[in-house]
Amino acid sequence: MFPGVAPTSPLASRSTHVLPALVLTLCLALPALAQEPRAIVEEAQRRSVSASQRYEGTLSVIDAKNRISEKRWRYDRIGSHGNSKSVLRFTAPAEVKGVALLVVNNPTRSSDQWMWTPAIGRERRVAVQDRSQRFFGTDFSFEDLEERDTNQYDYRLLGEETFDGTTCWKIESRPKGSKTSQYTHSHLWVRRDNYVVVQIENYKKTQLIRRAHYTDVRSMQNIWTAQTIEMHDLERNSRTVLRIEKLQYNVPMKDEDFTIQALRQER
């Protein structure tokens, strides 16, 4: 979800005609208000759907002692949300150049992930139980690199809050049984004006584990997209700032570039 930077939530989806349904809900049936958080999230997802996405990301990892290390990756995604595949390939620093991660997202369960390490010439599957680990020294976990599907979560509207100067819905999401997650639940802040997710807090029981803050939101090819994502690991008090550059949506891409074979091919 996070590297696929349309700041839309952990929630992706193949939502369809949500707005008419919302209008109908608001006008006619009070009990239907219970569906509203899902409708909000699905609308947020719908607005971020694209056939593909490409960007170059610069990551600044700032540890608890304020030491900064820089990394760069190139990100390609084909498809959207629960039906997408992505390849993330490090381009810097030099010693990790070529290290790549393939994420195959699934609409009904956790993603499949494989990591390619050129130094040993082998790909390695990232086991589901290892998805809570940090991804290559950043504050993103392997699970955070998934694009999740709305159908894998239950939602509850917690209220409205002003965040970063805009009015937001605050929504709680909880993974359903089919979804394996390190997080018991998450809180999402979704802007009312453009349905962009501007913050996600991820919890393990009552403890806040990670916070993702989306800023510098701009319309890119008619998709509101955060240009900066700050992931804060509260257990380690470490932060990773991902800056998005050269972002493009709907770039022609082929399915065959998102396979284990393609992962082994270095560019």
Binding site: D63, R67, S69, P93, K97, D112, G121, Q129, Q265, R267
Partner: protein, 397 residues
Amino acid sequence: MPLLVVLLFLSQDYSHRGFVESRGTLYPQTAINDSSHGVGELFVRYESFYRPSQRFQFAGAVEARTDTHRQTERNFRVDFDDRSLQRPMFSVRRLSAQYRGNYRGNLTVEAGKQLVRWGKTDIVNPTDRFAPRDFLTVVDSEFLGVYALRGTWESGSETIDVLWSPFLTPSRLPLQNQRWNVPPPGAASLPVSRTIPAGTQSGIRWSHIGFVEFSAAVYSGFDHLPVFEFDPVQNVIHESYPKLKMAGGDFAVPFPWLTLKSEAAYFDYPDPSGGAFVLYVVQLERQAGEWFFVGGYSGEVVTREAGLSASFNPDRGRTRTLLGRAGYTIDTNRSVAVEGAVRHNGDGVWLKSEYSQAFGQHWRVTAGFTLIRGNPADFIGQYRRNSHGSIAVRYSF
């Protein structure tokens, strides 16, 4: 021509990487055939990839090296086949052309010198038959490229990998006059007559990905590790590379707390004096916080005893052995790792510890110590005088 090279570098379809490494190794003890205590090495590797179109890619890697211990040749030549006893000063590690197409699935065809890795487990890989190594320092071996024509077809969760290699690339063995070659008593001064067989090698591997990942592989060709026979008539040791047929497989199963991986292969040496045996590895792995652990057991079942020839076979030498590796990431720049092998009868122990720290975007310093103990008759134990400390400084670009 220089303009062409510059244009190639500026091209977006061209990528490259590499490093320069300087390494010093200190051996506290001398060996029977090696009185030195220190080895200094300088090593450069440059890898590049050029993709003129979506379908084609060219890959190349070259190396240059020298050292203080005559492990590297001193003559200026470019080596292409990795058959020399010493490491070449300049060598081509990889040089291949690759085509990708779509024929009821994804098809990749690669021709040329390339690196091929089969198998899933760590430390010992019984099915990894197209992966000869440089064993000049036995416990820190490096893979060598092989010339091959490789076709890989992938459809959904199934992949079929077919390889044909026109000739054998043998593993590079410890040099006769150096400490990692431990000859039997009295054999040190005997000349060695080396014969590399002509003939092709081929193999096929089918792999499946899903909740359980597994693969099956067969191989027919030669062993890249030699056998030695003493010829009393000529008073010479014959080094040869026997014919080999291998059938094996591997699997990985993720459980809630750890991942189980296993790999096994049946080796049949069809020569009259050749033996047959099964090598297997079972390992468990887990990541927890900043830690990772891999632990397992490597075993062997001999189904047919070989003749009187001796062999150099580090994979078999590490069977009936408990293997493990653990690592801890201290922070974004620093990490420590420990790796070890202990023979189940206690006859051989190998422990390697390493501390590594990055400085800025390009520099990394790695300091390590390797402890080797055991019985002189044991594969690991025979290197008991080769415990060593090392420090390596690497500049990556």
